[in-house]
Structure formats: C-alpha cells, structure tokens
Symmetry: C2
Subunit: 161 residues, 2 copies
DNA sequence: CTCGATGCAAAATGTTTGCACGCAG
DNA sequence: CTGCGTGCAAACATTTTGCATCGAG
C-alpha cells in the first residue's frame, strides 16, 4: 500500500509467463506472443494494435485466435482492458503498475501520473460511497496543459458547467 | 462556481431546442425527437438505445439518420458522448449537470455522485500537471459496496495492486 | 425555390462463431 | 493419445456512405 516498486518490462513478462503456465490449460506460442506483445509495450494497446503487431511477428496467426486469446487471457486474470476517453479499448498486463492516465481530448495525447495524486479521491469514494475505485486501470479525460492555451470550446448552452 | 442549480428535464429540453434552432441549419422533426429522447432520459443512453427508442416513436426514421444526427448534434455542441467503464458509449445532453459516475465492474451497476467529491482531485491535477479534467462526463470504474462484500477476484499475479 | 436532411440499401469495420485439423501436455 | 487451441471462412453487430428524394427556411 506504499511501496510501488517499479516492475521492469522483462520481469513482468516472466511473471506473466509463469502465471500463464499456471492458469492456462495449454501454453501455446500464440498465447506467449500475445502476452509478450502486451507486456512488452509497457503500456496499452488497442485490440486492433495487438492484432496488427502479433500478425506482424507471426503472420500465420489469425485475428480470431487473437481475439479469442485476449478474452482467454483476461479470463485467466493475466490482462485487462479499459476504455481511455473516447478512444478504443486498451489492453494491458494486470500488474502493470499503479498509475493514472490523463487523456487529452483535444490533442489525443496521454500522460501517466502517480497514484498519490488521486489517493484522496480514492479515500473519499470509499469512505462516502463505499465504492472501491479501480484506479490502476483507469483514465481521466480532459484537456492538457498545451491544449488549454489554445482555442477551447466552452459550454454553448450557458449552463454553469 | 458553487451553485449547481438542478435543471429539470423539461427546462433542459427547451434550452436544447432553442440551441438547436440557433445552431443547426435546419430543424427537422427527427432532430427534435432525438434531442427530446436524450434530454428526456435525464441520464445517458447508448447509441443503440437511442436508435431503438427513436424508431419506436417514429418508425419511419432510419438508423443512419439517427447516427448522422448524433454526430451532427454533438458537432453543434448540444450533446456529448462518453464511455462508462467497459460498456458502450453513452450520449447525454451537454448541460446534463455536473456529476461523476461510478461504474461497478462486477454487477454492472452505476451510481452518480456529486462533484464535490472530486473537487480536490480536480484542483491537484490542474495544479500539479496543468491538466484540466473534464469531470462532468466521466466515469470511474471499480467495485461497489455490495459487490465488495461478495467474492472479488484479487490480483492473481501477486503484484501489490 | 434551394440546399441541407432523410430514407434506403450497400459497404466498411470490428468482433465472434462453427468446424475440422494440429499440437501441447 | 486426448482434447484444447488454431486457422479459415462465414456470420454478426454496429456504424458509415452514396444517391435520389423530400421538405425546412
């Protein structure tokens, strides 16, 4: 609850492989590759990007296998997927590390911030509403510093936001 | 900056209609209906639900018209769409009122909370990262009170969450 | 009367499924 | 060997687009 030891992409990859062997009935090259692509990205990939990347490295793999495994791996508890802002869903390794994503709706850029920033929110949500937020795999949509300076559309209806 | 005066569904509907007349080149019955459905729901509707509901009330409307208008209306600044947790995108009136959504990943339920709860987060994000979160149209994914008591899958990889 | 909006149907996109074969265990 | 996982292709759900017609202004 306080020591966020950073996990290297390599270590994570090994841990995931171990977990795969442990939880999956069969460990196939395809599954290994998919897992490797996801953990190796050190971030998030859309299903589409995964299909592209995996197909690139192993052209014989069919999209259906990838989709099926994305679900299977998520079922095994090795990966998870989230929605970032308005974009497509993103897959990531489960123990990806605790951080929050800020997605800029104007420029589309994303940045990661430390979990400390939202610790108080976490506390009050749990305290007031009994809701335990899953803040590791979670994105906040808004406007980044750079875009805030530019032309931003204000509420056109005059509501006090 | 502190008076969140609640807007009745009726008032909102009228305001939206006025804005529609103001910003759209043409005001058609279809647009009016779509707008009415969205503002009347007093909440959020998936594109699919809107298609269903609108078609119900006006069977001659084709889905393409609805999709086109969802985009058009969003372009006019009358509505917006967000992604709630893992579910489908939801459309809502722009001046829907400031609140945050808590989406339970276990039971799929959602609850709305007041904006005050996340005011401090808002402040620190802006302060520390220069990022202006769009917290009105935004969802937090996690586990609700009820489901927290039940069987919850913990991190299967042993990472410290 | 004009030109934006609509309805229809076909297309594009992204994901899922049935089935027979192949390979991990 | 056994049966889970794979590749292929077809099915699907959802959203987009071309085009002729319609109707709001």
């Amino acid at each position: 609850m306080m020591g966020e030891k950073p996990v290297s992409s390599d270590t994570r990859s090994q841990r995931l492989l171990a977990a795969l062997k442990d939880r999956a009935p069969r460990v196939t090259p395809q599954r290994r590759l998919i897992l490797e692509v996801i953990s190796g990205s050190d971030g998030h990939l859309s299903a589409d990007a995964i299909v592209t990347e995996v197909t690139l490295r192993m052209p014989t793999v069919s999209p259906s296998t990838i989709y099926r495994n994305l679900q299977a791996l998520e079922g095994f508890g090795l990966i998870s997927h989230i929605h970032m802002g308005h974009g497509p869903a993103q897959y990531q390794a489960i123990d990806h590390g605790a951080h929050l994503h800020l997605v800029c709706g104007t420029c589309g850029g994303t940045q990661e911030i430390d979990r400390d920033t939202i610790r108080s929110l976490e506390a009050s949500l749990l305290d007031v509403h009994g809701f335990k937020p899953n803040l590791e795999h979670f994105a906040i949509y808004g406007t980044c510093k750079g875009c805030a300076s530019g032309p931003v559309r204000s509420n056109p209806l005059g509501g006090e936001s």
